[in-house]
Amino acid sequence: MTTTIEPTEDEASAPSLISVRGLGVSYDVARTGEKLVAIEGVDLDVREGEFVTVLGPSGCGKTTFMNVIAGLVKPSAGKVLVAGEPVTGPGPDRAVVFQDYALLPWRTVFDNVRFGLEMQKGLKGSGWRDRVQEAVELVGLSGFEHAYPRELSGGMQQRVGLARAIVAEPRILLMDEPLGAVDALTREVMRAEIEKLIAATGKTVLFITHSIEEAILLGDRIVVFKSHPGAVKEVIETGLERPRSERSIQSDPRFLELRDHLWDALQGEATAAAVSK
């Protein structure tokens, strides 16, 4: 346990797919009329093909941060460039996987996955059917094409969310606590599946999580957020080999070191958050 953990320096020279500079978001608070600064002065660069996990206590602004990149929330300060272009709204190059799945309950699995495609390309050609089917198979849901979301378990629903996100072949996958709502055992299984899936498709991923373990297991880099106002506390390169077996990695000293470090970094924040959320 001698390796010290150095916050990573983003090399300004590397071609970064996502580039965030001085990002700040503040919300109007209805009751008081004041402004609530959700995040402030956030800088981050994400390279093509990188898997970045974002870790932080509840309410620190992780979702806000991701929503800006997704184009759902307008920043009040700073800028976000994706592939060199400023973000003006949602686009087909970025897809989102939501914590609460956000599946359309009136659509079957197949139609939900199709939803990821239909708006953008208009489903003109005939190829879309195969692509949807392929995505459904990719997440292991063949046979469930005609099931409605509420007939599926949480884990299965999140697979649908995943399929919907990847079907349009976005360059970037934004995942907001995608495993937060599934039970722990399924979660442990799905982590590995997501890792494999992402590795196979080579997507750039921004993955928000509350779990230290998850952040280490999945991330190439870990962005730690702090609260009040939300900001990047540090960025850590995990430096762990892929593919990572959950079982083998946990005896890896680097893993344990990262774990301890993150635990320390978050202990205070987490306790505060648990009581004052």
Binding site: Y27, D28, V29, A30, G33, N67, L72, V73, K74
Partner: protein
């Protein structure tokens, strides 16, 4: 009614919507008052100034105000409003007196639910106006049929909502009650009744509106006194301004009573207030 002032899905919208949503309760009331004034001015303009509709059938606000003053100074208003008030309160009390216990019974006992439920839905689905001739025939003149119609209009929303509240009591809370040693009676008092309270108030709010309409329907024919009689008498003698003034009063009563119910709910059931987050 609460839905009107609910802020709705919070998606970080801006502009007027955000401003309105951000107003304090007093601010909201002020804006509303402003709107009402604008509305009245428009009405006055269309009917009173431009004369697009014959004012005999649709008098302008100024004339309605005049009509109100006439009703007031002649003492007609006081006597008739008192009669209506008495009928309304009596009928409503009867509805509450029958609706709540029967609703509770329905919620408790499956056989009662299966027998009373369909009958109640049937009567509820029948136009109140259909009972009007029958009420007159059975209860004669005066306040009797009015009370009957008020009661029969108000009882079903109360009854059905209370029953629904009992049935939808969160099973997990019931289990908690059982685990912590609540007996049948205690379970009733500490679990079922409180969780039915919000439903009860929702039912009461619906009942207020229906009861008022039932009252006017009953008084329009058959009775010599009451707001409905004032309306029909004024209408028959083409003093439409007075008729509209009386209608406006009835509407004010209806809206006012729903507000009263809401206030009582806040006081009796503070936990139903919208979460602050």
């Amino acid at each position: 009614m609460s839905a009107f002032l609910a802020s709705g899905p919070n998606l970080g919208r801006g502009g007027v919507g955000a401003w309105l949503a951000g107003l304090s309760p007093r601010g909201k009331v002020l804006v509303l008052a402003g709107e009402v004034v604008v509305m009245l001015a428009l009405w006055q303009l269309v009917v009173g100034v431009l004369g697009w509709i014959n004012p005999v059938f649709f008098p302008p606000p100024s004339a309605i105000w005049q009509g109100f003053l006439e009703l007031w100074s002649s003492g007609v208003l006081a006597t008739n409003a008192l009669v209506s008030l008495q009928a309304w309160l009596t009928g409503f009390a009867i509805a509450v007196g029958i609706g709540i216990p029967l609703g509770l019974l329905m919620g408790t006992s499956l056989p009662v639910d299966r027998v009373v439920g369909p009958i109640a839905w049937t009567i509820y689905a029948t136009p109140t106006i259909a009972y009007q001739p029958l009420a007159k025939a059975w209860f004669g003149f005066g306040i009797g049929p009015v009370i009957f119609l008020v009661a029969i209009s108000a009882v079903f929303p109360i009854l059905l909502n209370v029953a629904a509240g009992m049935r939808t009591t969160n099973p997990s809370i019931i289990r908690a009650g059982t685990v912590f040693g609540a007996g049948r009676f205690q379970l009733y008092r500490s679990v079922y009744l409180p969780s039915t309270v919000p439903f009860l108030f929702a039912g009461l709010r619906q009942a207020v509106v229906l009861a008022t309409i039932g009252m006017v329907v009953a008084e329009l024919t058959g009775s010599a006194q009451g707001m409905g009689a004032v309306i029909i008498r004024a209408a028959n003698t083409y003093q439409t301004d007075q008729a509209f003034a009386a209608i406006a009063l009835v509407v004010v009563w209806s809206v006012g009573m729903t507000q009263v119910v809401t206030l009582v709910e806040r006081w009796v059931a503070p936990w139903t207030r919208k979460a602050r987050r």
